[in-house]
């Protein structure tokens, strides 16, 4: 029963948050400078009548409240607006890009999680040792390098100087590849952008796994296991790591949503045709409806990911239900 109430509370909280995001999203883009309809036309000769026609078509002739009601109604129907730049529904524009971003983010996060857990576990297992200090400071350094800066460095070294990897894009243009060849082509293009994301997140995962590991090391069952004379590697794998992994795995859940948002930098540097690069292009073209749509999707996915994590956590760790572990 308690679980149900907790879940309902969380879900209603998420709904309120999403509603607030929708309002904020609407307001932010009404204060933007420039006339959105004028921005649709670069051609200066558009007649006043044509502009008025477009205004009516997009409902911009209505009052602020009328526009908000329209916007909300459209959202309920899954309509995110109409892109100025591409002259088609925002949802179609985003839909074209979402798969590419998912491929990149999932690959990068899986690699980062695995690497981070391995290195973090080693580091935490022998906390205070030289290896630990090295891993720790390397991960702090990696965590300090902005993804776009790492991207530029990787691009300079492996793209321009060593000529190993392609300079951008998701596949060789108009190659006609299908199936396995195409997959290989895509993977080949993905190496640099994925690694510029991996190198950032791996720092975070190392730090987290390490601290979690250090905590676990003091627990009674490890001491007991040691006292039993089990091999160190067995204790590490079977006892310590397994328990230390819990917070890390949950983090990947939240991170996944945040990483989609953070992928903007890597996609921009490597012209990866995903949502991140789309955001950059939308900024460059000042395509406000598109930006608005992208932002809504980012924000809602973060809220939902958080909700999911809250719900999962509450099953794992009963203290959360009472709010004791909230802060």
């Amino acid at each position: 029963m308690k679980t149900l109430i907790f879940a309902l509370k969380k879900i209603s909280g998420a709904i309120v948050t999403i509603f607030a995001i929708v309002i904020a999203n609407f307001v932010i883009f009404r204060v933007s400078p420039g006339d959105p309809i004028r921005m649709m036309f670069r051609d200066p000769r558009v007649s006043a009548e044509a502009l008025q026609r477009m205004r009516v078509k997009f409902g911009l002739d209505k009052s602020m409240w009328g526009q908000f009601v329209d916007y909300f109604k459209q959202l309920m129907h899954g309509n995110l607006g109409f892109s100025f730049w591409q002259k088609r529904p925002v949802l179609d524009v985003i839909g074209d890009r979402i798969v590419q971003t998912l491929i990149l983010v999932v690959t990068a996060l899986v690699i980062a999680t695995i690497l981070g857990i391995i290195l973090g576990a080693i580091s935490g297992w022998k906390s205070g040792s030289k290896t630990d200090r090295t891993i720790l400071s390397v991960s702090l350094v990696l965590y300090s390098v902005p993804t776009f800066a790492m991207g530029i460095l990787l691009l300079l070294v492996f793209g321009y100087v060593l000529l190993i990897f392609p300079l951008g894009g998701i596949s060789s243009p108009a190659s006609g590849f299908t199936g396995f060849l195409y997959a290989k082509d895509v993977l080949w293009h993905m190496v640099l952008p994925a690694f510029s994301i991996v190198l950032w997140y791996v720092g975070e995962y190392i730090l987290l796994t390490r601290s979690s590991m250090v905590e676990v090391m003091d627990q009674d069952y490890i001491v007991t296991a040691r006292a039993k004379g089990l091999r160190e590697s067995v204790i590490m794998r079977k006892h310590a790591l397994r328990n230390a992994l819990l917070p890390v795995v949950t983090l990947s859940g939240v991170n996944f949503a945040f990483a989609i948002a953070g992928v903007i930098e890597a996609e921009t540097v490597f012209s990866w045709p995903g949502i991140g690069r789309l955001t950059y292009d939308a900024v460059m073209k000042r395509d406000y409806p598109l930006l608005q749509g992208i932002f809504l999707i980012f924000a809602v996915s973060v809220v939902l990911a958080n909700l999911l994590v809250d719900l999962i956590y509450s099953r794992i760790d009963p203290r959360i239900k009472t709010g004791a572990a909230h802060d």
């Binding site: 902005p146 800066a149 903007i264």
Partner: protein, 305 residues
């Protein structure tokens, strides 16, 4: 108030000040004996020096365009870091760029911590509906994906460093507010607050004279993190072309280098700003790690204080 009471009050204050001074000294001692803290402090001091002494360290006016023969030339005796596509000196630009990064870092950290602390204290101290409402707002802001929101706001508000400061502060204050609130929740139950309340101290006295001094260490730790984030944010936004195109910053240097299509031929134009950003962020995150280590209960004792 009798004279004796007054004297006691003054002595009491002096004592408090002494204790605070001693605490600060201890803190600095611990910091300088912390491996990462030391490195962080050295880096930050170095960059602060560069920023303040920029007019002395620069070799030429960073805005001054050069002769045709000086366009995009590699580092040499005259242009230590080479020149950019208008023949401007990269060294002098990097030197002056430190000012923008540090300025944005410090001002946004101050704004963030100030707002966060205020709201955190109010929420924690008053509790009830005020707390509920403020914490809902905090939760809302924490839910928003930071970078996309910053990009959207910077695009809508237009390019200027004040907008960047505003955007960064707007997005970062909730973290501080949350941390401060949870501190205040435990502080307000402490005996010294209770004692003050009993002798009739006003709410504002309790909040700002009794509780605030005790959250300052936490605020300091928060401020260090916020500076890191603000520097990062400025770099990213400027790199994406949302910074002030007239003002020289590391991010905008990278933006122009990236947009000019000369990155591979002129690495001297790209590497100095990148390394500066990275080193400065490393400095602050080392300092941040050190500070949070030091603030951990029990750390002091391990160092024999």
């Amino acid at each position: 108030m009798t004279n004796a009471e007054k004297t006691a009050e003054i002595v009491n204050r002096k004592k408090k000040r002494e204790i605070r001074k001693q605490k600060t000294r201890d803190f600095l001692y611990l910091l300088m004996n912390h491996r990462m803290g030391k490195v962080g402090v050295v880096i930050i001091v170095l960059f602060l020096f560069i920023a303040f002494a920029a007019p002395l360290l620069r070799t030429v006016n960073p805005h001054q365009t050069g002769k045709v023969a000086h366009i995009l030339i590699p580092p040499n005796g005259r242009f230590w870091f080479g020149t950019d596509d208008l023949g401007r000196d990269v060294w002098s630009q990097v030197i002056f760029g430190s000012r923008v990064s540090l300025l944005i870092g410090f001002i946004s950290a101050f704004a963030t911590v100030f707002t966060g602390a205020l709201i955190g204290i109010f929420a924690g101290f008053y509790g009830g509906y005020i707390e509920e409402l403020l914490m809902r707002i905090v939760d809302f802001f924490m839910m928003l994906p930071a970078l996309p929101l910053m990009i959207v706001l910077a695009a809508v508000l237009g390019p200027s460093i004040w907008n960047i400061i505003f955007v960064v502060s707007l997005i970062s204050w909730p973290t501080t507010a949350r941390v401060v609130r949870s501190q205040v929740l435990s502080l307000k139950e402490r005996p010294f607050v209770e004692a003050s309340r009993c002798i009739g101290a006003t709410n504002s006295f309790l909040m700002f004279r009794e509780i605030l001094p005790n959250v300052i260490p936490i605020l300091f730790a928060e401020a260090v993190i916020m500076i890191t984030e603000a520097i990062y944010a400025e770099a990213v936004l400027s790199f994406l072309g949302l910074g002030d195109p007239i003002r020289i910053s590391w991010g905008s240097m990278l933006h122009f280098a990236f947009a000019s299509g000369t990155m591979a031929r002129a690495p001297w134009w790209v590497l100095p700003p990148i390394l500066s950003i990275v080193i400065l962020i490393i400095g602050f995150s080392f300092l941040g790690t050190a500070v949070s280590d030091i603030l951990k209960p029990g750390y002091k004792e391990t160092k024999g204080l």
